[in-house]
Symmetry: C2
Subunit: 340 residues, 2 copies
């Protein structure tokens, strides 16, 4: 696989070979690649699945045309691949989940296609479901994980297993073995933080900090780590009581609560790993996501004795390219016809 | 102590001996007692501390007059006792917390008074603080606990300790020994449930049930109990994924989530008890609070092997009376002068 890099210098002269879409709940990102996997252009739209007006296929078609119409005019017949919530039951067309363990071959086998109004064939990557008493699901993260796998060797991970964290609104931790997503778990950490801050008593005494308060964040991580068995419900109220007793400034309370929640997430992760005989301490792992948030997780992981977190850049666009290659939508040695 | 009972038959002829106020964050309840501790009248107002308009003492005075002015007209000089958030820093006058372990004597010693505009002396019961690395606080619940202590012998609790649960927005569990609140813990269970239902993705697929779904609630309790170590963050997303996979109806998702949260609260309680060599299983305990919510907790406790929860009625009004008696504000053998 060729790693796509940001915007090739010959942006407007190279032949487009692939349009790929990271089409999630809140936004749509579009990537245009040349035949070598270099990015020619990227775009972002607010037309996430939850923002596409009711109206089904027609509304998705309009959002697709708005984002990529001129690219398609220029390169008719260029293949299109999409991943994320666009393949959910609320999306453009449902691409049923494939069951874990699943790797790139299972994802390719599960691709569904839809023809757009102008006749473009859009291939949609399925999500992954982990069956069991408490099922779990992902859509979009499977593509990012595929995009990160090349980094496994760089952190010394072997075939016995690789841990990948995807911090965010719904943080996920995945255990990958021989290229297959074997098991994963969703933590509603980001969304829970927002709900607690904006809609409970904890937010009432908080004030925004001038700069992120690293010490308060790490204090929250440490408190959570020391309260693994007591759990989250028994500790979050301390955000308020430490404030009431003058031991946590209003400007520090947000970062403290963030540390508490991420600390409890890592407690749970540590428990899950222990069940398979692995310890979080000294575990090599990859992080995928927003840089600032990944840095926060890396600091929390360090407090858990795990200093080996490596942040993977451009996992989404690399994963989309890799899945398109495996699906035969692109071949590095043959560029599609370009209309320009 | 005479147990107050609801509204004596001679409501308008007996001499008022005490006005007591349960003045919390969202509402104000006023109780009028005769000299034997029987209730002559009760009233409720929406004038909770958070609803009293800014303006400090004058606004509290107006709310007090609105609730109790005619009672005071009729019985000038009748003593007034208040408990709850009215004694907080945001209240009428701050009654600083007394430190746990604390019983009725410490509460009486911590009473502060304020004179109302008409010259009535209002005695305010302090809250209790449990000091430590993570402090915890209560205001109002200490009075309910005092009111429930007479029930201790009825459940076979001895001097070694009594467990009292106070379900609600901010649920509390207290360990009481020889009449002293020794340790307690706040769980933001009720408020967290509301925030998750109303302000996260979990609420989007929920539909209100026609009647409470006991089976779904107990399923949530059971899942939480089986995930003690994984914790809350690792299980709440199952509300959505069980729905996505057709294994939890939209109408059942609210009760399932409620069971999950209460189950995790009981996990934490069990851990706290284990630290003092006590098991939740077969532990006799008292519950104070809303009947429907207490029944929900009793069912969850039963699933944890604890079938001995006893719901205490009228704990607030009994506690207020008992503190007033101990403070010398009322004496059963001497009724105050009544203006009628």
């Amino acid at each position: 696989m060729t790693n796509p890099t940001r915007i090739a210098p010959d942006t407007f002269t190279a032949a487009p070979a692939l349009i790929a879409l990271d089409w999630g709940t809140t936004s749509l990102r579009a990537y245009l690649y040349d035949a070598h996997g270099a990015l020619l252009a990227t775009r972002s739209r607010a037309a996430g699945v939850m923002h596409v007006p009711a109206g089904g296929a027609r509304a998705f078609d309009a959002a697709f045309e708005d984002a990529c119409g001129d690219w398609l005019d220029r390169a008719p017949g260029v293949p299109v691949l999409a991943a994320g919530m666009v393949g959910s039951a609320q999306g453009w067309r449902e691409a049923p989940y494939v069951e874990a363990p699943a790797g790139v071959d299972a994802l390719v086998a599960g691709i569904v296609t839809i023809e757009s109004a102008r006749g473009a064939t859009v291939s949609i990557v399925p999500g992954v479901i982990a069956a069991g008493e408490l099922p779990d699901v992902m859509r979009g993260e499977e593509t990012q994980i595929v995009g990160a796998l090349d980094e496994a060797s760089s952190i010394g991970a072997d075939h016995s297993g690789l841990l990948i964290g995807l911090p965010g609104t719904h943080a996920k931790w995945a255990w990958v073995k021989r290229g297959l997503v074997e098991r994963f778990q969703t933590f509603m950490t980001g969304e829970l933080f927002g709900a607690l801050r904006d809609h409970t008593i904890l937010g009432r005494t908080m004030r925004p900090p001038e700069a992120p308060d690293r010490a308060a964040f790490l204090r929250g991580v440490s408190v959570a780590r020391g309260a693994q068995r007591a759990g989250l419900l028994a500790t979050i109220f301390s955000t308020r009581t430490l404030g009431l007793t003058g031991r946590l400034a209003p400007q520090a309370q947000g970062d403290y609560l963030s540390g508490l929640l991420i600390g409890h997430e890592l407690n749970a992760l540590d428990t899950m790993l222990a069940e398979r005989g692995v310890s979080l301490a000294n575990q090599p792992l990859l992080l995928i996501g927003d840089d600032v948030l990944c840095a926060r997780y890396a600091a929390a992981l360090h407090a858990f004795g795990c200093p080996h977190a490596r942040v993977v850049a451009d996992a989404t666009e690399r994963g989309l390219w890799r899945i398109a290659s495996r699906a035969g939508l692109v071949r590095a040695d043959s560029a599609p016809v370009c209309a320009d």
